[in-house]
């Protein structure tokens, strides 16, 4: 066999034995980052749980001001974007460049649709005077309803920021795919970015029931 340096895959870094080991290292690194993200969002979920346990009626009143239809549609949109992302990775694994580009575009379209619906929801909250602060208007326990909406905007806002970053990553992947940077043997950036995108989907899978749904049943106590 010819010298290893002359024949190895151009994307293989010298400190790895082969592309597979290199991919495992990259995926593991992304998972370690996602573990920090789990605990980052986990702190916010914890704050929400503690305050919801302490002020159950105020949180139930405030939760009724969220739009379940828009939240539900957005959940479907985001799950759909996870499917198209999984399909983009699938296309990359098979070296189908055009299919991969199409699935990346679909993922971006669904991601932008999610942010658009979220923006409409935010503008409704603004019109209803539900932005915490001096001009907060609320019929009920306004002081503690502000706590709910502070957590709502921080948690959904941080989630939306992750979506914006995800869209930027998708755009970079699209350009790389267009330039033919990915092959059947090497497409690590697509797989690793997919992990990030699915993680952002998981955060919403918890945000939607906790913020919109769990106080939906029964009458509002004032």
């Amino acid at each position: 066999m010819a010298g290893a340096h002359a024949t190895h895959h151009p994307k293989l870094q010298h400190h790895f034995d082969n592309l597979d080991q290199q991919f495992e290292a990259s995926a593991l690194g992304m998972w370690l980052f996602l573990v920090t993200e789990i605990l980052f969002f986990g702190g916010l979920f914890l704050a929400y749980m503690v305050y919801r346990i302490q002020y159950p009626d105020a949180f139930a009143q405030a939760s009724h001001h969220l739009n379940v239809v828009m939240g539900g549609i957005n959940t479907g949109v985001l799950i759909g974007s996870s499917l198209t992302m999984a399909m983009a990775v699938w296309a990359a694994q098979l070296g189908k460049r055009e299919a991969q580009m199409a699935f990346l575009v679909l993922t971006m379209v669904l991601g932008i649709a999610f942010l658009g619906i979220k923006a409409v929801e935010y503008s409704h909250k603004f019109e209803e005077g539900l932005i915490p602060g001096a001009n907060f208007r609320f019929d009920g326990d306004a002081q503690h309803a502000q706590l709910f909406f502070s957590l709502y905007f921080v948690m959904t806002g941080l989630h939306a920021l992750h979506m914006v970053i995800g869209l930027a990553i998708m755009a970079v992947l699209f350009v790389m795919a267009y330039k033919g940077r990915f092959t059947k043997a090497y497409h690590t950036p697509v797989e690793v970015s997919g992990l990030y995108w699915h993680f952002v989907d998981i955060v919403w899978i918890f945000l939607f029931p906790l913020l919109y749904l769990i106080d939906r049943h029964g009458p509002v106590v004032h």
Binding site: W31, V35, L46, Q54
Partner: protein, 114 residues
Amino acid sequence: MTAHATMIDANGEMQAAKHLVPVRVYFTIFALLMVLTGVTVGVSFIDLGPWNSVVAIVIAVVKMLLVVLYFMHVRYSTKLTWAVVAGGFFWLLLLLGLTLADYLTRGPGWLHYG
């Protein structure tokens, strides 16, 4: 456990072919996630008392597991990846569990209704 098949690539290097998940698996998981979303919305309009929160969280955890195991390929990943993922969720449970063990046992005077 690992579903990797070993093969020799064009450059004569040992390469493990990454597990290719069939497309029908992805669409099945997508359908399950959509059904579970419908179920969680439907159940939220039925008054189950404190169980509304429990049901919502259990359904969310099932949806999370479907995404992690199939969309994120953890089911087909190495044991090291399993350990890192499980460790992350274990630490989250410590954060939530130990804190709630305090707040949930403070007695009724701490709660504010109305």
